[in-house]
Symmetry: none
Subunit: 214 residues, 4 copies
């Protein structure tokens, strides 16, 4: 039986104000400097908060990073117009734009076109370091991906996709290509690329290559 009233916390409640200030300060600092050269001490100073107040909430710098990314990550809406090619393109373009923005984080805004993967790379490394951060990161992505996966499932149900294809594998190819370019090759991820990618992937799944059939 679950308690009717909340468990009733004792002692002074946590300051929500502090939460906000910390995340704000951390975000600013991350953008200015990147994840290395980003010191918890400095976050604390900027947020006018004691270091303990930070560590009470996130046990590790890496944990703070996930929280930060989770907060920053904008919700990507998915429309289901029935045109799977189009819907996917829209969704992936949104993702791609977000990634591209992230890779500039912490760099000189002076242009210089550096192809680094920035924060995402650090996130990935953080996930590799602590199992629980890894879980959090995977959750983050899983939640984000439920929508496009559902999109693919529905498309298959209505016959727009070959029945023997796996939504997951399909999506791996799409998202994977984007992250691969972001993290490894450093190649640009523009909307042209997304279009071409979606075309390629769907072509193998029973969707005619060129939409204008007949």
């Amino acid at each position: 039986m679950t308690p009717v009233t909340a468990p009733m916390r004792r002692g002074r409640p946590r300051s929500e104000d502090a939460d906000g200030r910390i995340l704000k300060a951390a975000h600013e600092l991350l953008v200015e400097r990147g994840y290395d050269r980003f010191a918890i001490d400095e976050v604390a100073a900027r947020a006018a908060v004691a270091k303990t107040t930070i560590y009470r909430r996130w046990p590790t710098k890496d944990h703070l990073l996930v929280a930060l990314v989770a907060k920053i990550q904008d919700e990507v809406a998915v429309a289901d117009t029935g045109d799977i090619r189009c819907d996917l393109s829209v969704y992936l373009t949104a993702i791609a734009t977000g990634l591209d923005r992230m890779r500039r984080v912490g760099r000189d805004a002076t242009g210089k076109e550096d192809r680094s993967a920035g924060v995402v790379a650090e996130l990935v490394a953080a996930a590799a370091r602590h199992p629980d951060v890894g879980d959090a990161v995977r959750n983050l992505f899983a939640r984000r991906n439920t929508l496009p996966l559902a999109l693919l499932d529905r498309a298959r149900e209505r016959g727009a996709l070959a029945p023997d294809t796996s939504s997951e594998v399909l999506f791996d190819q799409l998202a994977g290509a984007l992250y691969y370019r972001l993290l490894i090759t450093g190649a640009p991820i523009g909307s042209d690329y997304v279009e071409e990618l979606v075309g390629h992937v769907l072509a193998g799944s029973g969707v005619t290559r060129r939409p204008e059939r007949n």
Copy 2:
């Protein structure tokens, strides 16, 4: 035109022996402990080398890592049997095996099935931190990928691939999916998966879905 006289090195030449000992020690340590908990001081001690001798060669721990990975990375042979599906599967399986090995590097060998991306994640982060490391990493992968890309090109030339496909995009889908699973979702990358992946990708490129084994 090559110079008639050699450039004439002056001063004591760098000890190739030291190079070897350093990389060996670093490799051992990396495997034992993982990239964090891996200290340059200790590498020096194990290699029986002064720390300066390491820093003279690689200005940063991150730089050493790239050199290390470059050396470790085993050459993956590509056979061109004419059966593009088969050749790709073989190649990618080799890669996938290598990645899987890497993700266990520096972990308890106790099985524990942790889904972390290990060294690759650190490599990616290192690439994100220093532009020159980024360049080195990209070169590493570029060199590695020339072979499979050539494979795809040849397949297209002999008509086994639709003429309007791009080898690069195709390859992004394949490699991307692997790295995506490694770094982000943590999903397993077995040979089944590779088979399915290759099947999917080629299906959209003019290769018949199931090789009709007559």
Copy 3:
């Protein structure tokens, strides 16, 4: 006017225990090894203290040295018996003994009769390197010298010293001779020498050469 409310210390107070352990360890090490071959790392290890804890207190090895000497330096009592010659002799002999002890610090106790100036020389060099260390050292000596200077002043007041002599110049001759032998010529500084020295100096100041013992 003293403040009504105490200044109210904030944050964790410095551990006096650490202070003690650091100075103790440093002292031991200094005696065992001398100032070179004396590493902060090792002081930290012996004191079971983090290196930062040392550097928080003394920004430099040289600063630590002064603190150490200040602590070691034993108070030299001055009796004012009215016999200036005798009082000075006693005082200077105490100083000379201390100096002689210091010059053996960090040397093989094997006798070896080396004539080095040991720690005092290092102290002087440290003072020469950093202005603030210089100030500290000068304060150290100034405080130490107030007593004998007062002795001389009182002697002059009661007519035991010629009225046109300067206590400071007188004292320079006395202390100076000792430090000169310690630091430069390396000549021995026994009690005979001190006696002779005091005799010489006072002879020029209105004190009869040989105290006519009735």
Copy 4:
């Protein structure tokens, strides 16, 4: 029986040119920076000489320092006019001026009136570190002091000094006071001070306080 011909050195003779360039470079650097912040590497670079060439001549940085000081130290002439007070004053004033110059070595010339002892302090510390450097330094001073000591001896012979005084002790008081001020108290060492000092010291040795007798 000594050989008629020199022992016949084999191989290439040492470049006297190098000697000069090294000492010159070292001197400059010492003046610019002081003894710490003075690196052998840099001396070599400035002198356009290999480090080995330096070490072949002086086994240690400290040894080089002594050589340097020995070379810099200007000869102080002593006239024996028969007026011991005057002769001593002249001699000591010359010494004092030299010391004063040295204490500014390696400092901002911007005034700032810092009272550090500079090079002499380092010399003293160097002497304390290596026995042979110590010997060299003591020789340096001994040679320098023979002249004024002889001066005192002659004065005593001709009855200008009390017969029971020791020249050495007398000189300790004089030189000692200067070095004491230089190295320890940092008090100024002007010609006024030297006059007063000489007056004091001689007063105790049978020389009338004020020269204008009657």
